[in-house]
């Protein structure tokens, strides 16, 4: 006899649209996969050597739940120097990848608030994390002309209407658009006026081709802003699943408890690899940014010359386009040419495709035009 219990579990599962949201791969599945969040990069020999040394010296056992102390300190230092954030090592939780950072921050910080405001256009991993346990979600309207970010005015309106926790991306994971310094200041002021808080995804900020303004920089006492992001992206660690949450002190214990419950700690190999990457990051990151800037500019010119709309984005690792003949036709043509791109519908913007910027991006566009 068929199990009614199983049937009921599956019925509940199938009706949970957020949980079933497809999400892009975390790293390119090959040179022609331009749909992924992360790019394939070489791994520095010094990272291999440091990780191997850690494993051979017996760092193969459980470590502290929030991460090894030197890595937590390195992430705090990085956020201080890069984004002028006021976090210390004790504010950092090392996570098993970016999705775990989204899940822990949305669910465990979210549990301390009555509701959470989520942009209408956002990385689908945020919706997927919300699908694991029901939360009271307030949808934040976005401005397509501003790279699909919610405007500071619409954020202020949501806060005035009772929203108490925001989930915001800057750069946008779809378009790469960022908030300006005045906009960041306006959001910060609105948070303070309404005694509200924010989770701020700045994982793509390292690819911004200009100065970057973080909401965390306005939170000088680290009281109301949590920052999430990949740990040292571009260093070849995308498949090692290593990311961070930097949060006000009072928010760390619930995330730490949940991290203990769901995975105890993050892989030691990944943590020691990221620790070494933190030492090499500044020099390597700048070189990569220069290369990506040039590649993205070439791709943007090619697309623009062919009548495609190129969305304004400051992050050089992705490019968002509005195809003149529609998204379905563009994706079909790309697949026929052997390339994959991310469908903007996954993010909430069905007229957009997102391409990872790599050596293959221009070739993919040439195949279309």
């Amino acid at each position: 006899m068929a199990s009614q219990t199983k049937a009921e579990i599956l019925r509940q599962h199938q009706s949970n649209a957020d949980l079933n949201t497809p999400i892009p791969a975390q790293v390119m599945r090959g040179q022609n996969d331009l749909s992924a969040d992360g790019i394939i990069r070489p791994l520095d020999e010094r990272i291999i050597a440091a990780t191997a040394e850690a494993l051979e010296s017996g760092q193969t056992h459980y470590v502290d739940v929030p991460g090894i102390a030197p890595l937590r300190a390195a992430v705090a230092d990085f956020l201080g120097s890069f984004a002028d954030a006021a976090y210390q090592g004790g504010n950092i939780v090392i996570t098993a990848g970016m999705q775990e950072a989204r899940f822990l921050s949305i669910q465990m910080i979210g549990a301390q608030f009555d509701n959470i405001g989520i942009p209408e256009v956002v990385h689908p991993g945020a919706r997927k994390a919300l699908g694991t346990r029901a939360r009271n979600v307030i949808s934040l309207p976005v401005d397509a002309e501003a790279g699909y970010l919610p405007s500071p005015e619409s954020i202020a309106e949501a806060l005035a209407g009772g929203c108490r926790l925001l989930f915001l991306e800057s750069p946008s994971r779809l378009s790469g658009a960022v908030y300006s310094d005045q906009q960041v200041a306006a959001i910060s002021q609105a948070l303070a006026e309404h005694d509200a808080a924010a989770i701020w995804d700045q994982g793509l900020a390292v690819w911004v081709d200009d100065s970057y303004d973080s909401l965390a920089a306005c939170d000088s006492e680290a009281e109301r802003v949590a920052v999430i992001g990949e740990a040292f992206p571009g260093m070849g660690l995308a498949s090692w699943f290593i990311a961070y949450i930097a949060a006000p002190e009072a928010w760390v214990p619930p995330m730490q408890s949940q991290k203990q419950i769901m995975s105890i700690c993050t892989s030691t190999a990944s943590q020691y690899g990221a620790l070494e990457a933190s030492q090499l990051y500044r020099a390597e990151g700048n070189q990569q940014l220069a290369s990506l800037r040039q590649t993205r500019a070439g791709a943007a010119q090619l697309a623009s010359d062919s009548g495609w709309t190129v969305l304004g984005g400051a992050a050089c690792n992705i490019i968002a386009l509005r195809p003149p003949g529609g998204v379905d036709a563009a994706l079909t043509d790309l697949r026929a040419a052997g390339y994959d791109a991310a469908d903007g519908a996954l993010f909430g913007a069905p007229d957009i495709i997102r391409l990872t910027v790599s050596n293959s991006t221009a070739d993919a566009l040439r195949a279309l035009v």
């Binding site: 199983k6 999400i23 694991t132």
Partner: protein, 387 residues
């Protein structure tokens, strides 16, 4: 989630933090084997860093690893699974545990839990909004959970039945006859079985481990977890798995993608080496645990402690009621005065304040010293009680 529900987890976390502050601490609490990961597994990880560091892995894990897992669960557990659709790789057994509980239970659903049990099950169930229904077992019966007691607590809200064998912390192994009866209850009342087999390679004397999914009618309603942490001394690599019927595993896969995405590619290649490479390190460790278990039981006998005879696993759950202290107080005194970490039973269940869990995951010399220190602490406490 209420503070009360997380009490066990936080209590242990605080004790671990204190233990880490002592240079001479002897850890007989945490389930972390003292052995290093076998060298051929570390070599495979190094090789993967050089050649495969950027490989893409889907949330359910690399197919070659899932194939190795399918071969392992067939060989060891007699469970047939399709690696394409019935295996999901996880960040350790802990993530597997969380995913299984959340996949099978929703708000208001009852999960039947033979007690004592690992506290994370209750924490995971609380996340899902489920309700724990306890079935008690005691040292005098070596912590055997009686199927009749399980049957007695089934209601129309019962959704799942947790079967951990060998059990943590009580080290009971569910007998084949009892396992058949548990499955029969699950079939009769249409329950999902959540099976934790993580200690299946560590079974002592003449006891026998049986996976419920290997029994007729079991697989289609059972999610089974395991991990490399205990068997291969790979706790820091965070690699485990769930196997189960394809329909339920589709839900597990989506939950896995929602909470973390994938497991580290380096750990996955190390996992392939562990499962497909030489297995003598596992047997060497199992033999060491057999010797250490005897050593610990002899010492407890000498101290006059009663316990359920550990039929499997890597620990013993001892009755400390004669001390007159609550297990939290006793464990704290042993830690602070003698720098020996043992876990209080109250961290596992509010009803187990009279028990301590001690692991035998230290070299014999250290275990002897730890037990000697524990004896000194107990003598001091008993002298206070008598004065």
């Amino acid at each position: 989630m209420s503070k009360k529900k997380k009490q066990g987890t936080n209590l242990l976390y605080n004790m671990i933090a204190e233990a880490n502050s002592y240079d001479d601490v002897i850890v007989m609490g945490r389930g972390d084997p003292d052995f290093d990961t076998p060298a051929h597994i570390v070599e495979a990880a190094k090789d993967a860093m050089i050649k495969r560091h950027a490989d893409y892995s889907p949330p359910e894990g690399l197919l070659p690893l899932r194939e190795a897992i399918a071969e392992r669960v067939k060989r060891v557990n007699n469970i047939d699974v399709d690696p394409a659709t019935e295996v999901v790789v996880t960040n350790g057994g802990q993530e597997a545990l969380f995913l299984m509980v959340v996949a099978a239970n929703g708000p208001g659903d009852e999960m039947i839990v033979p007690e004592p049990n690992y506290n994370t099950y209750a924490d995971s169930l609380a996340f899902a909004g489920g309700v724990k229904v306890e079935v008690q077992a005691f040292a005098e019966n070596d912590f055997r959970a009686d199927p009749a007691d399980v049957r007695a607590v089934v209601t129309d809200k019962s959704r799942s039945l947790l079967l951990v064998s060998p059990n943590n912390p009580a080290a009971n192994v569910i007998s084949p006859a009892d396992m058949r009866e548990m499955l029969s209850i699950a079939i009769e009342h249409d329950l999902i079985i959540i099976a934790d087999d993580i200690y299946d390679l560590f079974v002592y004397d003449n006891f026998e481990h049986v996976s419920p999914a290997s029994l007729p009618g079991g697989k289609e309603r059972t999610l089974t977890l395991n991990a490399l942490s205990k068997a291969y001394s790979m706790t820091g690599w965070r690699l485990g798995w769930i196997v189960g019927p394809a329909d339920l595993m589709a839900r597990v896969r989506e939950l896995k993608a929602a909470i973390s995405g994938g497991a580290s590619i380096i750990s996955q290649y190390a996992g392939i080496a562990a499962l497909t490479g030489p297995q003598d390190p596992v047997e060497m460790m199992a033999e060491a645990y057999r010797r250490r278990r005897r050593l610990v039981l002899d010492a407890l006998d000498e101290m006059g402690m009663s316990y359920g005879v550990p039929q499997g696993g890597q620990f013993v759950f001892a009755d400390i009621s004669f001390s007159g202290l609550d297990s939290g107080e006793l464990a704290q005194r042993i830690l602070t005065e003698q720098h020996v970490l043992a876990y209080p039973g109250s961290a596992f269940s509010k009803d187990r304040k009279d028990y301590l869990r001690m692991t035998f995951l230290q070299p014999e010399e250290k275990l002897r010293e730890g037990l000697e220190r524990m004896k000194i602490a107990m003598q001091s406490i008993m002298a206070e009680q008598q004065s």
